[in-house]
Amino acid sequence: MDEKVQNTLLEIADDELILGWRDSEWTGIAPLLEEDVAFSSIAQNEIGHARALYELLARERGTSADELAFDRSPGEYRCAQLVELRLLDWGQTIARHYLYEQADAIRLAQLKLSSDSEIAGLAAKIDREETYHRMHAQMWHDRLQDEPRYVAALEELRPLLDQRGEHTSELSELWEEMTMVRRSQPAGTKW
């Protein structure tokens, strides 16, 4: 697996991990109980996708999925700025979800064509779950698309989809919290 492919997989894995983490912040406080269940499930799926991608990469690099997910410094993550933000507004959260799912669909369609059958297979598997995410994002988009606040959020967030390399300070805050328990023990601890 060449370096470019590895970096693409890492980009996707990091996006999924960080977005899954941000989405999970709505667990227990989503605007509706049914939505709480649905959105928490989406968050969990995203983290599951990240794990599968990290595992694939970890075999290639002779490391582990946990090490890839948690033992890098915030600057080494390859995620887009879009997924890093801590959004406290439901409309903004849906705007991000919609933008992300649209972009992710295109990316997965490409990955499904990979000549590496393992990558293509994993992309197909992930895409089957993302179908639900896209349905969910679309129904909210249809409902909110005439709300000025939602439209403004889409405009505001769209450019952040392609912002990679530089990170927001919100990523380091997230990273501190995400890796806190793991860092509380010496490196190499068996959990």
Partner: protein, 101 residues
């Protein structure tokens, strides 16, 4: 709005009530019902019905006490006993007439 969800576990089996979801419209009900009742391979199909579309009946009038309309109107135990007695007497009557011949 409340939607009642009916689940078919395998093709050909009857749909059974699984629970309900609260959703703003049919589209949301579709997504929430899939999420809660269909996504883990536990259902072959779902019916999602607005609760308001369900006609409910609670009272079943039986003014003339026609208990033969009901399953419990036929106490099987007594009928079995009677049938056995009839069979036994028919048999002994048969044995008797055979002895005479």
């Amino acid at each position: 709005m409340i939607y009642e969800v009916f689940r078919q576990e395998r093709k050909g089996q009857p749909f059974q009530h699984a629970g309900s979801v609260e959703a703003a419209d049919d589209h949301f009900a579709d997504v929430y019902a899939r999420e809660q009742y269909g996504r883990r391979g536990e259902s072959a199909a779902l019916w999602i019905v607005p609760r308001s579309a369900v006609l409910e009946i609670h009272e079943f009038v039986d003014e003339l006490n026609r208990n033969y309309h009901r399953v419990d109107g036929y106490p099987l135990k007594e009928k079995l006993k009677e049938a056995r007695e009839r069979a036994a007497s028919a048999k002994s009557a048969g044995a008797l007439s055979a002895g005479e011949g």
